[in-house]
Symmetry: C2
Subunit: 164 residues, 2 copies
């Protein structure tokens, strides 16, 4: 991984590592910020893209400080639970939450999402993941995290287009 973001076209995902325990992903969406925020925080919309086309059951979703969330994705390779808790929810620009996969319980990522209004009807999403150790960070990169994120964001593009 490079510490520099690559130049990016609107549908490219720019991946960088601000430190050896962090992964940063930047992606631009062709939709205004309020719409992107809604698609990222309303359960009925989240369920349409978060699972990359797989069935997603939202067992819990409380997007307020201290609230919990739990999603179950029904993928080809099995059923995967994910859960966490919200540290900060500031519409329409910033959300900080924990993220855990049931397959590695109690390995906790701090996931920060920031939305910037680009002033031309587009929105920049910057997602930063902070890990407790460099090994966990490398493991996540090697697991194909950025491929999965790219698939989710492609599905989000379609949800945003349908919200027009």
């Amino acid at each position: 991984m490079s510490n520099e973001s690559k130049p990016t076209s609107p549908i490219d995902l720019a991946v960088s590592q601000p430190s050896d325990r962090e992964i940063k992903m930047v992606r631009i969406f062709n939709a205004p910020r309020e719409r992107v925020w809604r698609a990222m925080t309303e359960p009925a919309l989240l369920a349409q893209w978060w699972g990359r086309g797989n069935k997603l059951v939202i067992e819990k979703y409380e997007p307020v400080r201290g609230g919990h969330w739990r999603f179950v994705e029904h993928a080809d390779d099995g059923v995967h639970g994910f859960e966490g808790r919200f540290r900060e929810v500031t519409p329409p620009s910033r959300c900080v939450q924990t993220f855990e996969w049931d397959g590695m319980p109690a390995y906790v990522i701090i996931a920060t999402a920031e939305l910037e209004d680009l002033g031309d009807g587009r929105t920049r999403l910057t997602s930063t993941s902070l890990f407790h150790t460099n090994e966990e960070c490398d493991g996540m990169l090697n697991s194909g995290m950025t491929v999965g994120a790219g698939q989710s964001y492609a599905a989000l593009d379609k949800v945003l287009a349908a919200m027009k």
Copy 2:
């Protein structure tokens, strides 16, 4: 904080910082390891010492990999919720879990407890707390963590003595 543990008598708590994101506490108990493990993992016993003498309500306690826990302490300054999830539970020697206080939701500590049989009827507990940032680690030290731990361990001494 020094990076070196202080010499310690059996009832002293030795505190050190293995790194700028970790706090290590070492304490010796006058009880065999199996008994200390029980007092640390059986809810009816935990409730007698974890809250340092305050009423403790154990809302959830599932000491297996992936299981969750949630305690509510009724202290003089108010009601405080704590929760987390288990990464590893290996009786009678090792437990790794996450730890969060409701007052700072989604600030997650990795708490590792290791019990060593000293061969003379005593047991050494080494508790390590790993934080995502140095600021969170310093904040915990400044909040009086080691005083609280000392009070909990003094209460645990009494529980262990009563289990004889």
